[in-house]
Symmetry: C2
Subunit: 279 residues, 2 copies
């Protein structure tokens, strides 16, 4: 490629024109999301005049903002992040089985008839991302911190992937109990219970809370008993290295941040949006 | 700049991240708008992590869509195009004097207190764009076709710029009469009247209707009497050469398309949005 050709490409690629189609990612806060950087190169590679934009939805204006976005003629779908993964469901016409099991969605799309369908890819994304790194979940004994939208998706997906045991902790014990009951019912072969955030007896720790995003947050759970042979996952996207990940790595643990889940789910979300995927 | 450095720039510039701020342009249809291509290079040159996106607003969902856009936390302003330049006014908290005179806005912004202000730059944009091409409007006798949002802005701005006479035609005679009355009151030195689309007695023709956008549209007015010494402006953005412009140029007229207005107003709209302008 010559310098002139690159200049041309450069000039063309920064242009959004009137015919550009939109996908949004909605959340509060929004500045930390990595999803536009994952999807926009994919759109460009597929030759689509489509961009993914971050949209900051204020909690007190949630319904009005999301209904407005859903009414936009050239917006074909949205990803949904914290704290809206469960809250968006009443605005949808249809929720697919995995999302119904989880009780939350992270992607919604407009169907050809104008109706909206939601599905959940967070948990499947984490499982896929770990598999792509040759880490399997069969037989694992997992301590999961957080039973919100992300935690629910992870619980269902790791049980689905063959985990032997799953302990769920949430600062709201009722949330942990409800999620444990749901996962246990759907996956009777997995020993699911709500319990204290104790690492003993487990070989994997997953943080699915936002604790670690803000400076000074510290750890999402006491880390006594964490040893080098344990696997640690923190689904937080930003910072890339949370206090939990830094501590786990200092002990010698294999530890992954949110990017492993993001990359794993991007593939499945792309298919849900009808924009193709890797073979 | 080396090829490697350009590759880096290329890779960085196509990325939209979570912290990107948004401006929208709203209209129906939307695919023809050129505004993102004018504004996005300007944002990049100013070092801003900001993009302008096209948003297709369906007429039957206008209020819901626009109120939703206004509620987005990282959306700072919008440009407004056909057919919403008057319709958006009831949703605003404040309309600046030029827009009040015109009865329509083409740019709205969120103020620091969260309220929304609108102003109108279409007509000023055309006058500025022509001035930058050394064409002045003082003493001109102008035939204006179209008394909608764009036509109203043009009428007020050309009268403001010193036109000697202004004849306004619209397929809805009441609209032409109302605009003529408003312009005459604001600019008593200009001979303003509503009248038939007859070119005789004028030295400038301006089309401010959408006629010419769709294939097979033909001319917005009978062109008998158009001669090479007359100036012709068509404010349509796409196609770049409308049937009117092609015909006028074939006669030897100096004739400008919508880009002259777009470029002229981009400067003033950029200032309104607080993103700086040319010195």
């Amino acid at each position: 490629m010559t310098v002139n050709a690159m200049t041309d490409t450069l000039n063309r690629q920064v242009l959004i024109d009137g015919a550009t189609r939109l996908y949004a990612i909605i959340g509060d806060p929004i500045a930390q999301v990595k999803s536009p950087g994952v999807f926009n190169p994919r759109f460009a590679a597929a030759g689509l005049n489509t961009v993914k934009i971050p949209v900051h939805v204020r909690p007190e204006r949630f319904e009005e903002t999301v209904r407005g976005l859903m009414a936009i003629g050239n917006l074909d779908g949205m990803m949904v992040t914290v704290p809206y993964k469960a809250r968006v469901i009443p605005l949808l016409d249809r929720v697919l089985p995995m999302a119904a099991k989880v009780g939350a969605v992270n992607a919604i799309r407009r169907e050809p008839d104008g109706s909206w369908t939601g599905d959940m890819f967070d948990g499947r994304g984490l499982v896929r991302g770990l598999h792509e790194r040759d880490i399997r979940l069969d037989g694992r004994r997992i301590m999961l911190i957080g039973a919100g939208g992300g935690g629910s998706a992870v619980a269902i997906a790791v049980a689905d992937a063959g985990a032997a045991a799953l302990t769920i902790f949430d600062v709201d014990p009722a949330k942990a109990e409800a999620l444990a009951a749901r996962a246990a019912k759907a996956y009777p072969a997995c020993a699911v219970r709500a319990g204290a955030p104790a690492i003993d007896g487990h070989d994997m720790l997953i943080n699915a809370t936002p604790i670690g995003m803000a400076p000074g947050d510290g750890f999402p759970a006491p880390l006594d008993g964490l040893t080098a042979d344990m696997l640690v996952v923190d689904i937080i996207m930003k910072p890339e290295v949370t206090p939990l990940l830094a501590h786990a790595r200092s002990l010698g643990c294999v530890a992954f941040g949110g990017r492993v889940m993001l990359e794993g789910q991007a593939e499945e979300v792309a298919r849900f949006f009808g924009i193709g995927g890797k073979p």
